[in-house]
Symmetry: C2
Subunit: 332 residues, 2 copies
């Protein structure tokens, strides 16, 4: 098979998978400032992480802060897994972060720190404040489209997850799930109560294998290898520089749309505007604009769901270059 | 990111993912003779398929025919998912296929057609006979390491699954799950009874998305693209030729070990000997032999579990060349 040859040299690097597992998780811990006693698991997608967190951290009731389609999906999955699902939806045009009252029975707070569908950004300090107010509840954070830009203080977070095709610019098919010791304690407590927490990829099985630098299934070696390479690249560049560049690009794009007579940023309140997934209201011109840009080689996102025709979505990840951003704006 | 460039041209081929989904599933249906009314789902591994089948096809009781570690794992996962698990273990030194009496309460029969850990092969006609005797029970078949060689008659099978890193010679991280209309009927019946069948990757969600040529999560485009390419290659070569070559290689290897004074095939009864994953008893010399072969560039499997030091395992997939097999035997 020709395809075998393509990957031969990659596999030769990865003969010792345990070394690769160790390097990759250590690199991620360094890059994202993850405490030494946290564990990192390799799963297949961000939605899988949503499922495994609910199965492994929630006996009866989960609480979901919803700011777009991905938060909504997470709540839906929790329902499908038989949980009592409580939700609070933050309107995308809110001017203030709500004073959330989280019911006593909620065991875990699930939130989408940056919802790709709306470009709504929950400032990390709001998450920190939440954990301080509810120290006995677990907090699980979807950072799919904000990592590695977002600065999560893991002293005030219990689980976080992302997939590699956004900020890390890799092919889809690999998810990364970060969990605190408290998460694993909760899983043990559920097991004692005979709660079903899943099978091959239960947090318990993932944890036991990870302690031995293994995965429950034959690992996605190729993608883990690439993730390791990109993580090392990022460590070399430094996250400060990566963040600064993203800030600069975001500033240019938002400024452009604020000064535009026809179009405007969808999220009005500055502190809730995503620097990494920027959404703009283009008044029904989404398809026209996207076609025009595609001809120039730039593939932009359409609006999500009901906003398909009204929005365009511009990704601003480490791999997106300033000169491309400037080009895009020239053609808008 | 440099890695972005590597995959750019692959993605340019895959812009229209729905076309890729359609081509790949149609190609697999043609290659493996899968009926038109069956559905094919893309999941992340073979063990995920084990989980999804148990969740989606079994309310209370599953029956497992065990011939090695993978069958055992499947039964373990069913237990972790809260099912009443019945098992029948076939001894690897059996001379006859047992006359299985499957209890009335078993809703599904799970079997590993070719267990990679032992090289025990269940002849497909035994599966067919089982379904004829128990037409009202679902039959789910692990064909991880026998596909595309094995000839499954899907008129007498309800679910089958494999991962792409064995017979298709691709990087790990993608599983393929094939299901009959009866499987989806059973899933619907479970849902009506409020049984929890999983969330984003429940058979119901997978089916609904697949009908629209989509996956519930961002798809593993790279691996599906490669699977499509290999499937097309195999269709061009023809399965008859691929099977004939595997038979020829298997014959040479088994003959070598039968005539060897020190070593012997682990499975003694001819009809249960795997043509695709061949296991040999090398009387404690496994590590020595494997090191010697590794120096020549050939990576063989050690024995599985407790047989680590006593066995070597030789894979005989479409991508393994006759000349390499002959080289390996020269160095044994």
């Amino acid at each position: 098979m020709r395809t075998n040859d393509i990957f031969k040299h990659i596999y030769s690097y990865c003969k010792k998978f345990k070394n690769l597992f160790k390097q990759t998780t250590e690199g991620l811990k360094k890059l994202l400032n993850i405490p030494a006693d946290f564990q990192i698991f390799f799963v297949s997608s961000a939605v899988e992480s949503m499922e495994r967190i609910i199965q492994g951290c929630c006996h009866q009731t989960s609480f979901h802060i919803i700011t777009g389609s991905f938060g909504k999906a997470w709540a839906k999955y929790a329902g499908e897994l038989g949980k009592n699902v409580l939700t609070y939806t933050i309107a995308t045009d809110t001017t203030e972060f709500p004073d959330l009252q989280i019911p006593k029975e909620a065991e875990i707070i699930c939130l989408t720190q940056n919802d790709t569908s709306t470009g709504f950004w929950i400032p990390p300090e709001k998450i920190l404040a939440l954990k301080k107010r509810y120290p006995n509840k677990l907090i699980a954070i979807d950072v799919v489209s904000s990592v590695p830009y977002v600065n999560i203080d893991f002293k005030f977070a219990d689980a976080a997850f992302f997939s590699v095709q956004k900020g890390f610019g890799l092919p889809a098919g690999l998810g990364v799930l970060i969990v605190s010791p408290d998460v694993l304690k909760k899983t043990e407590a559920l097991l004692k109560k005979k709660v079903i927490i899943g099978s091959y990829h239960s947090l318990k099985n993932l944890s036991e294998k990870a302690l031995n630098l293994q995965t429950p299934e034959t690992p996605n070696v190729l993608n883990i290898y690439l993730l390791n390479a990109v993580t090392r690249d990022m460590l070399k560049t430094g996250l400060a520089k990566i963040r600064k560049e993203i800030d600069e690009k975001a500033k240019i794009i938002y400024k452009f749309f604020e000064n535009n007579k026809k179009y405007s940023p969808f999220i009005k309140t500055l502190e809730f505007r995503s620097p990494t997934t920027l959404v703009f209201d283009v008044k029904g011109k989404s398809e026209k604009l996207r076609k025009k840009l595609a001809k120039k080689g730039y593939i932009l996102g359409a609006g999500y769901g009901e906003n398909k025709l009204n929005h365009i979505r511009i990704a601003n990840f480490p791999s997106h270059k300033l000169k491309d951003i400037k080009s895009i704006l020239k053609y808008v």
